[in-house]
């Protein structure tokens, strides 16, 4: 693909669904549902992650996310945030499938509250079960190329390694392993978690990732809607830079103006 084609027709496909935006945004931590909706709009995201939680039966008339972000226009990707065992995650996604009617889901099984680091043994076990039940899980995982391979073999439709711990905003800690995962994967790879600012998102895309998933970097920015715009631009810039192919690094200077004709 040339860079010119890249601008107009650069799409990516996960489990048979094709998307133009490579930015997936979360819908947690916003000050209001209005701000949340405005940020989703500004981000250009076509997929948002959502959590599955009990309805408030004491006050059923509380404002709902679905009134602000239309699930007919934006793909809802239900997650398993807060699940620490395969069983909890599977139960949550069965409910999500019933609530939404779709099989494309985000699986995350966490190992501990302090780091929210994925528990890969439980994650793999849940992936196996979910795939057998007809789910199409996009799977949050450690930045480990072997674990990524195992998930893909188990039927994960996308591999989503963390750049850094959830909500930390530390940026991509291990570019080498993210790149190895990209090179080895036959399914889309998205950096999920750890992005803090626009350059982190660009870096993920420059490494060849198919997309980036983020929540806190936008929701906790002083101006969330403006940061959503920044992230949209950053993901596009990083993608274009990846397609363009960056120059080789040199250890010393190389003048940009011709030496010939120097007075």
């Amino acid at each position: 693909m040339t860079a010119q084609q890249g601008i107009s027709a650069d799409t990516w496909t996960v489990a048979g669904r094709t998307f133009t935006s490579r930015l997936i945004v979360g819908t947690g931590k916003y000050k209001s549902l209005e701000e949340n909706a405005a940020a989703v709009e500004a981000s250009g995201a076509e997929i948002v992650t959502v959590a599955v939680r009990r309805v408030n039966i004491s006050d059923p008339n509380q404002p709902r996310l679905t009134d602000f972000v239309d699930p007919k226009k934006i793909t809802y990707l239900p997650n398993t945030a807060g699940c620490f065992t395969a069983e909890d995650a599977i139960r949550t996604l069965r409910l999500a499938r019933e609530a939404g009617g779709w099989n494309l889901v985000k699986l995350e099984v966490l190992g501990e509250a302090k780091t929210l680091y994925p528990d890969m043994r439980e994650t793999l076990r849940a992936t196996d079960v979910l795939v057998k039940e007809g789910f199409e899980p996009m799977v949050y995982c450690v930045d480990d190329p072997i674990a990524a391979k195992q998930l893909e073999e188990a039927g994960a439709v996308a591999i989503m390694p963390l750049g850094a711990p959830i909500g930390s905003g530390l940026g991509i800690q291990n570019r080498v392993t993210i790149r190895l995962i990209v090179e080895g994967a036959g399914v889309p790879v998205l950096v999920d978690a750890g992005v803090g600012t626009a350059s982190d998102a660009s870096q993920a895309m420059e490494l060849g990732c198919d997309g980036v998933l983020m929540n806190t970097a936008i929701a906790e920015a002083k101006d969330a809607v403006l940061m959503a715009r920044a992230m949209k631009a950053a993901v596009e810039a990083g993608r274009l830079a990846y397609l363009a192919g960056r120059m080789q690094k040199r250890r010393y200077a190389d003048p940009s103006s011709p030496l010939a004709g120097l007075i």
Binding site: G28, R54, L65, E98
Partner: protein, 72 residues
């Protein structure tokens, strides 16, 4: 079942009473919820949306009623 013909159930961890013969869809409606926008689990088993209108609430049922909320 009690003498006043109501059923004792738990919904999202809260104790509730509903009239005998109520379907799950009716119970969800009575809570002020749209059955098309939630998922219902009864005693750890999903109740498919298509059968909410037929399945009757039983005394002692434990329900989880969930929906989508903001999350990362």
């Amino acid at each position: 079942m009690t003498v006043d013909d109501t059923l004792s159930v738990r919904i999202n961890g809260e104790h509730r009473r509903v009239p005998g013969g109520t379907t799950i869809a009716e119970m969800v409606n009575q809570l002020g919820l749209d059955p098309l926008r939630v998922a219902v689990e009864r005693n750890l088993e999903i109740v498919p949306r298509g059968s909410l209108g037929q399945a009757c609430v039983e005394d002692g049922d434990d329900y989880e009623i969930v929906h989508f909320v903001g999350g990362g």
